[in-house]
Symmetry: D2
Subunit: 400 residues, 4 copies
């Protein structure tokens, strides 16, 4: 066990940090940002810059045109990208494309990869992942899935409704989770301009960092050829797991960058702003918040790295990624909330980027499984281990 | 000591509750709401409704056309009004007008009252309170005031900059806090269309409940006749205290209503939404949040009532109002944050009013003195009492 | 609604405060204190002092020799008594005698009162309440009661095991909860020197404030005449409720006094002890803890008073007392824990009474129903109200 | 960066775990335990067992008879030892001997090592570290040191008072921190049977895990030859730092083991105890506590490992060890407190080892610098870095 990063990882980290500082931070006040995320034009400008620096879609395989990053390398790079709300867009590592690319790499056929994965990796198209449904459909509990896919000749005909579908507006590709006639679930790939694929409305949202915002979709006899099933029929829930554990962790990585940014802004303000005869930060009421921020950032980073390492060992890492998701989302929230408090009026207005980070970050405790669902799952596993395992809480995996 | 409300207070409470439910809640989706609060037209529509029901500006004195509410009565009514983000606008009890009306009632000359207070109470004009300044001026520490007022014949000439000035856009009256040549501070009343009164720009903000949003103001040789000084020259800091303690408490009251609303929304959702085989609320992870909400609402209400009673006894109530502000703003925030979590995706999107309440409420820990400043002030008083008082923490004032 | 105490209550409060300061505090270092509470001799000394001052068993009815205090009066007096760990023993208002006296007043026959209640009120005997059982018996869930009472002629024969029975050692009277042959439960009164009543062993415990400590009891064919059934056969669970809601609240009152004491000790230390160039309390890291203490004490007191008032209206007050128990036990714990931290090394050693208060207070979150059980119960009621009540969280009872 | 432990570390971990399970846990109910720690006889029994297994004083250098563990190896082994309150005593790695051994290895002369270090490592003698003083002396702020050492011929004559001196009773060696005539500080080694070395009294304490308890010492013209100065005259504060950073971290390690033990006890109970129709742990109110425990244990372990690695790189690691101390002591406390709550009545009585762990653990937030002092120190460094460092919170050291 050691914590040293090899030279090439340090170099890549430095490169991305420099890219964000020089090429992305100056764009943060670009007016082409909307309540539903950066405009397509702004996005292309950012992608172009990343492409020039050889940093586009770095998590994709080398074969597809990426850098083939390990999970640990993703941890390092994605944190740096997250330092700006526009960073993940620029590197093409934002949700949901990032997770969709990961999923397609693992499950798609060569033909599907050529048609959809390659342009995704190149930043030419965007995608969305259509799983969540309004009540009484599938929310936190995926078993409540109601969208139906019925076989009709060589096609499947899909009917149903989805919401909170991130990135739907402007996406060329959708991955749809639907229930089969036998009760199992499958994933379907579809172009979004097919008849019956309807973007019912855009949803207002607290966050504004996702290109394409969040939408309500309706499928009205949407016809998808059997060749566009992703992977095998009936394995939808299993593929959801393939996608979710790493996608969950990459969320943690990006958000850690956001929190670090907020902390930096707060530190600088605390040094500069005078109050009651000394810099704000010299009041313990403020200084202690900064100390707690640093501790939260530190433990979050360590937990992300550990989980990334577990995934790099080829493990499923469900227990570790649930822990990382819960603790990251809560620690990061505490950090950002403290930064708002340190910044005072500036923290709740457009005077500081932290207001935007605050709005963007709240949903992290809800996305990718509400923390309550992860805690439920962790508890179940802990109790099962205690019941069978002979008596000691074994430290998390530390041996190959 | 007892907690029973007399019949007339219960009747007024029921009347306002009914008014909010029937006349205000249906307006919550009115499109005339902007990032800088309800539009003037929407505001007038709401004021008209309150006027019809005899509920306009109820905290003003009967002489001025209000209901002459005691602090306890305000506690009851303002909570009810706060149940909708539009409620305080409708009743004309929103910040900063509410506090300005209170201040003018106490300090203004009859001529000033006729000119500005009466139309404020009638809802014909709006006002703003220009105290906070950008660094290195007065933020949390009022002694850092930099805006200057210099005597010139029968006038004062004011120069300086202010920001976070709530309600400035569209306000006809401004109350300006400025430093005198002898180092003391005074308050000045001014029409906002005088030369040298410049609204430099609007500020983006997390909240959107205040009519007129938040603005940056600049005073460029703004000339104010000596007759428009509010009260006596040099008593600006004292008047700020007159305004702040009750204004602080009315914030608590309105926000308590907001939190109660969020809690009701969460409870209904928890009853309705199924997850893992039973209603969401039957999972302890959710049910415990609802229980904690109820506890936080309960203690907040009790502390507000107690402080209102202290003020009604003619006390300054600085200690009690600092405690109430700190505990209310933190308890209310916990409640709203839990409600967002219970609502899941709906809590972070426009699907639920709770998302808006969440955005509106964050600044409460910052406005009216950041909680850190109140804690500092409380600690100082606690230590002084312990040093001199013979040894026991005396329970908060409970005897006339 | 108002918060003023009438003159006679203020006088009684002052009297008890003076009694504790003059007659009880000086006894705190008396060596006749053991891991299982004050010795019988020390207890008699304390009772004698209270008797002299007319303060013995003040909550008992005047008929029985007490002062016939209302719940609000109890709130005021018990807090004062709790200021010393020995105070509740001195006034004969400690658990479990206090609750047992309350129960016997409500349910016992005149003969039972003469035999047991009168000497209890006079402080001549002590009692215990034998309900809790080791697994798989009744812990938090009273329906799991396993101790059996079987009718045999004019007697009942009781068999079973109990533990965590506070005050058992040295108690002359036990109230035993047992299951009847028809599945219902009854309460039995018994002298503790009857054959078959066996004190199996004393239990080590974190706290040491209860006279008689905590014990494991065994009933081995314990024979109790039918005339010693408390109240009606089969109403054990209902009587448990009669006892528990007020007993729960009196716990809150006494512990509030303990927390106030700890806070006073911490304040004095923070004024006295120098560190890094100024008194400890002038460091915000310490001062903020003191401010938070004051807030927690304040809201706890208000919630206790409110609940006491509800009980004084003749209400069952289960919802309010559950809220009060949960919030008091957690706020009080936070206060005491902060005081330990302020006191540093003295807070974790016998140098300060706070170390003892800390040990005594931890179980408050467990006794009288673990907070988790109260939250479960609160959630259930909240959801039922929301489902049926037409839509608004109604503020807690405030009208007669 | 990776988290795999090499085979020899895993083997040593397994060996210690087995030793604790087989040879130490069975001793936990040994009656030779007092309020001031295990008796000398019990301690010798435990040391003998460790000696037999080749596990005595493993952190000492091989030259001195230990295993010459790296900091990372200590992290692994000390956590295992901490699994029983008696484990650190058995392995001779308890405070203050552990830190004193470390200090003597670094600073003592060969003669001093022969005389005191060797028998310490062999478990033949014990030692104490006499730094803390009662007010107005050195508590959290070492600069307030008042104990005086005055040169007199070849000796120093020491006068002063110390308290909270852990392990003093029965210690043969004391390391005394005293102020020199020039205002600097030195450390002195002394046998405790010299004239003028007075153990004034034992202190009652919440914890009972330290052999020799805690004591008040008085030095009354204690005469120490100049050859018994530890290291160089005037370097006392520097040596205190040499001792404190690693000693602080080994505290974290041992306490992590304690918390893990408490968690295991709680898990087993949650599986076994039925309540409201199912095992306790299946109630989310309990299950979520177990999940949070696991998260706290995980982040604590990672932060300890990281800091140990930093120390192994030869760094001072003050920033990292302050973070580790603060976060460990608070996370561990949360874990243990939750375990008490899960265990209910058993958690606050001698029925469970957790009650003892709870008592032992509270002081961890106070010892080795109260967390407030560490936060103050962290804040200062964070602000200095932000002021000079060009703008980004640099992730904690990760490169050699």
């Amino acid at each position: 066990m050691h914590f040293a990063l090899p030279a090439e990882q340090l170099a890549l980290q430095a490169k991305v940090r420099h890219f964000i500082a020089e090429s992305v931070l100056p764009m943060e006040h670009d007016p082409r940002q909307t309540a539903h995320g950066p405009s397509p034009e702004l996005r292309q400008t950012l992608l172009d810059r990343a492409r020039e620096h050889g940093l586009l879609t770095p998590h994709a395989s080398r074969e597809m045109g990426g850098l083939g990053l390990s999970h640990i390398e993703k941890a390092i790079i994605f944190e740096e990208a997250g330092y700006s709300p526009l960073g993940p867009v620029a590197l093409n590592i934002h949700a949901p494309d990032e997770g969709n690319i990961h999923l397609l790499e693992h499950v798609a056929t060569p033909a599907q990869k050529d048609r959809w994965l390659r342009p995704l990796v190149q930043g030419h198209i965007r995608s969305c992942f259509a799983m969540t449904e309004p009540s009484p459909g599938a929310g936190s509990d995926p078993s409540m899935l109601t969208t139906q896919a019925v076989r009709d000749g060589d096609d499947y005909v899909i009917n149903g409704q989805k919401w909170f579908i991130t990135g739907a507006e402007g996406a060329e590709l959708a991955i749809i989770m639907a229930r089969m006639e036998d009760g199992s679930a499958s994933m379907f790939l579809t172009d979004t301009d097919r008849p019956g694929f309807i973007l019912a409305r855009m949803m207002g949202s607290l966050d504004s960092c996702f290109a394409g915002g969040h939408a309500v979709l309706r499928f009205d006899n949407l016809r998808v050829p059997a060749s566009d099933v992703l992977g095998e029929v009936g394995k939808g829930f299993r593929y959801a797991q393939v996608r979710l554990a790493p996608a969950r962790l990459t969320h943690c990585m990006r958000w850690l960058g956001q929190a670090r940014r907020a902390h930096d802004e707060a530190c600088h303000y605390a040094n500069r702003r005078m109050s009651f005869g000394k810099p704000l930060g010299e009041h313990q009421g403020v200084g202690f918040m900064l100390a707690d921020n640093e501790i939260d950032l530190h433990t979050t980073r360590l937990a992300i790295w550990h989980c990334a390492w577990v995934l790099d060992q080829g493990e499923r890492g469900n227990f570790e990624s649930s822990m990382a998701k819960v603790l990251s989302s809560e620690a990061i929230w505490r950090v950002i909330d403290r930064c708002v408090q340190v910044l005072g009026g500036q923290g709740v207005t457009g005077e500081s980027i932290v207001e935007r980070i605050f709005r963007d970050a709240r949903s992290f405790r809800i996305y990718d499984g509400p923390n309550e669902v992860h805690r439920m799952s962790l508890a179940k596993k802990i109790l099962a281990r205690a019941a069978t395992g002979g008596g000691q809480c074994v430290p998390a995996k530390t041996a190959t």
